[in-house]
């Protein structure tokens, strides 16, 4: 007689028959061994000679979501902007230390920041669609980077990007309408579609949900959850709950220092540093 495949609770019987014990710690350590996308060594940022970031050392895994949290002025956005050299655009800003992306120094002389920003896309706090049609917003990057030699290729890229950003069904019949006519949540997903249209490896998000209502926020978080399979995502957020929900790794910054960097679960249930504890529990430090 063949043995039943499930027990009375509907659990697979084999799990019990083999006496196999599920080791929860194994999953955690597996996550820890993910490949490193960015290796940051002693990263400092100066604004007009004033040090805003104090020698940050941190490895960012190549898949999944890494959240950067901390009070205003702690250096988290400054740090985020290091990864696509956005600080280059700020007069009197200077970056020191080393940031290796897949082993290559992104501040090396041979690195073109424009090409780097195609590999490392960015989404800002306020949705910033270009004053162009929905189609042209998404097509902009592939056009200037010459990624779509034929019109057909461009159509494909636009459709695929909008689909991946979870916006296709809402806009497919009005691609010629201005991107600025969409709702805030839709605009934010449009700029994500624009970012992923150039096939980046990394997406940087600087408080991407802070201007969105709860429904648009939920859709954005759902999108982040899907995108994390394919992209390395770094997100700056002021919402603890959001950081806890969307990220696998969390880094806490305070007064320009990286105070604590660990698995998100550890940060939010049992942080090691008193400053982290005080911040995430809303205590006065």
């Amino acid at each position: 007689m063949s043995a039943l495949k499930t027990n009375h609770l509907g659990h697979p019987r084999s799990m019990f028959d083999t006496g196999k014990v599920i080791d929860m710690k194994a999953t955690t350590s597996e996550a820890n061994t993910a490949r490193v996308k960015f290796k940051c060594r002693n990263v400092e940022v100066f604004y007009s000679g004033k040090r805003a970031l104090h020698g940050v050392n941190m490895d960012v895994p190549d898949s999944g979501v890494t959240a950067l949290i901390g009070p205003s002025g702690c250096g988290k956005s400054t740090f985020l902007r290091v990864f696509n050299r956005m600080n280059d655009t700020i007069p009197n800003a200077r970056v020191a230390g080393q940031i290796l992306m897949d082993g290559q120094d992104i501040y090396g002389r041979d690195v073109d920041p424009v090409l780097l920003r195609a590999r490392v896309g960015m989404v800002f706090q306020k949705p910033n669609p270009f004053p162009k049609s929905i189609f042209d917003n998404v097509a902009y990057g592939p056009r200037i980077h010459g990624l779509a030699p034929r019109k057909n290729d461009l159509d494909n890229i636009v459709e695929k990007s909008l689909m991946r950003a979870g916006l296709w069904n809402e806009v497919k019949d009005r691609l010629k309408e201005p991107g600025t006519g969409l709702s805030g949540g839709q605009q934010q997903r449009l700029v994500i579609a624009r970012a992923i249209a150039v096939s980046p490896e990394v997406i940087l998000m600087d408080e991407p949900a802070s201007a969105l209502d709860p429904i648009a926020t939920a859709k954005l978080e759902e999108l982040i959850d899907e995108l994390k399979e394919k992209y390395c995502i770094l997100i700056v957020t002021h919402s603890m709950a959001q950081a806890a929900r969307v990220s696998q790794k969390t880094a806490f910054f305070h007064l320009g220092d990286l105070v604590e960097y660990d698995d998100t679960q550890a940060i939010f249930t049992n942080p090691k540093d008193q400053r982290t504890q005080d911040y995430i529990t809303g205590r006065t430090g």
Binding site: M240, A241, A244, F268, T269, N270, P271, T276, Q277, D278, I280, T281, G282, R283, T284, G285
Partner: protein, 234 residues
Amino acid sequence: MNEHIVSSFDDVMSDLSSELIRMGALVREQLVGALKALKRRDENLAKRIRKNDKQVDAINDDIEERVMSILALRQPLAVDLRETIAALKIARELERIGDLARNTAKRSRVIIEQEPLEGMEEIFKMGYVAVKIVEDVMQAFEHRDVEKAIEVWNADEEIDEYCNTVFTQLLSGMMIDNSNINACSQMTFVAKNLERVGDHATNIAESIHYVLTGDKIDERRPKGDKTSSTTVTL
């Protein structure tokens, strides 16, 4: 620990903790009362204990509501999250200890109707240890004393040992004189109740340890209760 920026958060957490301390004190009283009723053969007291269990249940409901409200309104994290969840678990354990006190008071009715049993000192000593363990664990909670929590966690073994002795005594008592069977069989349940009190206190100690350290007590505690395999031959 530093205070919350929103001071009302401090207030709700401190109220939650006070409510648990109050529940612990009431449960301890219930346990002492149930043992006293049994020892003094006082059915009126036993009745009161049975009735008072409703108060314990009411505090448990109140704590559940408070925890729900904290989770919904404050979204606690880190030590606050651990404390909130632990409060729910500790209240549940205390509620079960309350049930065991009520059950003991229920069984004492039959025991009181029978002839008094001889040589029941051990079960009352065991009762004393059970009361002490509840007191100690709630003190560990009140004073956030992780050492004391670990002490309680280890002390449960003493109850288990008592339970083994008492169980053997009761079996012998029944074999020697079968007119004791009614009272003795009820008494074995009382002993088992007290042994369970120790287990619940141990669970509370584990919750306290988790709140205070963020880690679980990882050593395996030896199981001292051997009553499931105890037999007596004349």
